[in-house]
Amino acid sequence: MIDQLEPAPEKGEYDFYFGPAHPGSGNFGVKLKIEGEKVISARADPGYLHRGFEKLMEYRLPLQNAVLSDRLCILEAMNWNLIHAQAVDQLMHIEVPERAQYIRVIMAELSRIQSHIIWYGVFSLATGFDTGFKIAFGYRDYIMDLFELITGGRVYPAGYLCPGGVRRDFPPNTEQKILSVLDLMEEMVQLEELENPSYLQRTEGIGVLSLEDALRLGATGPVLRASGMASDVRKEEPYEIYDRIDFDVPVKGEGDAYARNRIGIEEMIQSIGIVRQALDELPGGEVRASKFKKPKLATKIPAGEVYVRNEVARGEAGMYMVSNGEKTPYRVKIRGPDFLHMIPVLEFLLKGAEVADIPAIYWSLNICPADMDR
């Protein structure tokens, strides 16, 4: 790619390649044209994490795909587990036991909290506040410990939220452990430093996305909510047991990097509340539909199609699954929120920005190259 860049012309206009090896960019690059300190144009260069999941899933059984779905986003594997499990459940008309639905919501929200912690951490790093990064990753580890206890894996749960329910029930005393980790998360939220003048200078009025632009560019989730639209799939189209849970959808109107970060913090507080409520009401009983208790690999998926939407930490995620009655799905289309956030939205926001603001804009979108490339 480097050899394709044009040499710098005399008047001070030059090409600048942000990523993919930049520590702050993830496996993703942006080609920028810069004059002086101003970005004239930006062109996203995705594909470094393209593994072709949609095609791979066509060759695999739902139980194998459950494990594969972990890898759709490294930073919030559990939420992608859930969306795959829901797609298969709906195609196979499986009634998920109530306890499993509660466990699914608890795990998805814990996953959202740790994903927002990473967001805060990398954003701090991008704006030159190293301590924030270290605090964030330290506190995130408590949730990783819970994941290890419950699923066996710290980052990848290996298809814990699987078709028919969840892979296994909570081990003894898990509820108490989750509650004590939630106390630590509340402590973490208190520690997140957002009112410091140098932080405000780096974020306020930076990367402003108006509501009209956000809708036109296909933004969803925290990015859309920071631009003034109270849209959340958990409210609009409640799945699992979200319709029984009381929570707010944080909204801001400014649409800048600061507003997006505040949304992240407020969502963490909401998620902590959701987990507490779900734990309060957690019923007993089975955690896996009887049809899937002893999964037969030869089970055929009834012909049909579904489109499942979920609210993951980054925005709207979707899975469109078509079956023609075989054991493997005929077609799977995965819609990741970052496909829109990292290409049209990022290109739009970077155009006209200052070079020094690039990391702040970039990380204020809560990006994850994995669910964009798929």
Partner: protein, 180 residues
């Protein structure tokens, strides 16, 4: 999925919003749609009226293009293109499906309707399925680098065969197993 909570049960029996939208579509275009369940409607159309229908639906509140997908029906010789739209006002998802010839996959672009968000979805599908979206000015390669093979997500492209041919050596002890 089980229906949860009293509110949902009530909504499911009525489905007024869903029926209203289908009514509007059938009045204007004489097409019958199908209500799959709450908040899910599917409509199949000919590709000639696709753009008109999309414009109409956008003006009815379906401002969010959630995704575009292509299903390759190999036996039928058709590509089925699916536009998944979401209305923030009605809180309903509408899937518009249209079939085009698989060997000559050309269809009008929906970029004039949903702007940049449609642009990027179409660019992806052009690369992975080879669909030509007429009117989309930027269909440059997106994910694949230096790829000159057929569109890789087509059903008749056997990637296992391709990888064996291109990257594995039958004589190599470790790689020979892939040829069994």
């Amino acid at each position: 999925m089980a229906v949860k909570g009293e509110n949902n049960r009530e909504k499911q029996t009525q489905r007024e919003g869903e029926r209203d939208i289908l009514e509007k579509i059938s009045q204007k275009f004489n097409i019958e749609g199908e209500i799959e369940r709450n908040q899910r409607i599917w409509v199949s159309v000919d590709k000639e009226i696709l753009i008109k229908l999309c414009k109409f639906m956008r003006d009815q509140g379906f401002v969010h293009l959630s995704a575009i997908s292509v299903t390759d029906w190999l036996d039928e010789g058709k590509y089925e293109i699916v536009y998944l739209l979401w209305s923030y006002t009605d809180k309903i998802l509408l899937g518009i499906k249209t079939k085009i010839d698989r060997d000559n996959p050309i269809i009008d672009s929906v970029v004039p309707v949903w702007m940049e968000s449609a642009q990027i979805h179409e660019r992806e599908l052009h690369e992975l399925f080879g669909v030509v979206f007429e009117g989309n000015s930027d269909l440059a390669p997106l994910f694949l680098e230096d790829w000159d093979g057929p569109p890789p997500f087509r059903k008749d492209f056997d990637w296992r065969e391709y990888v064996r041919e291109e990257y594995y050596d039958k004589e190599n002890v470790r790689e020979g197993v892939y040829f069994d």
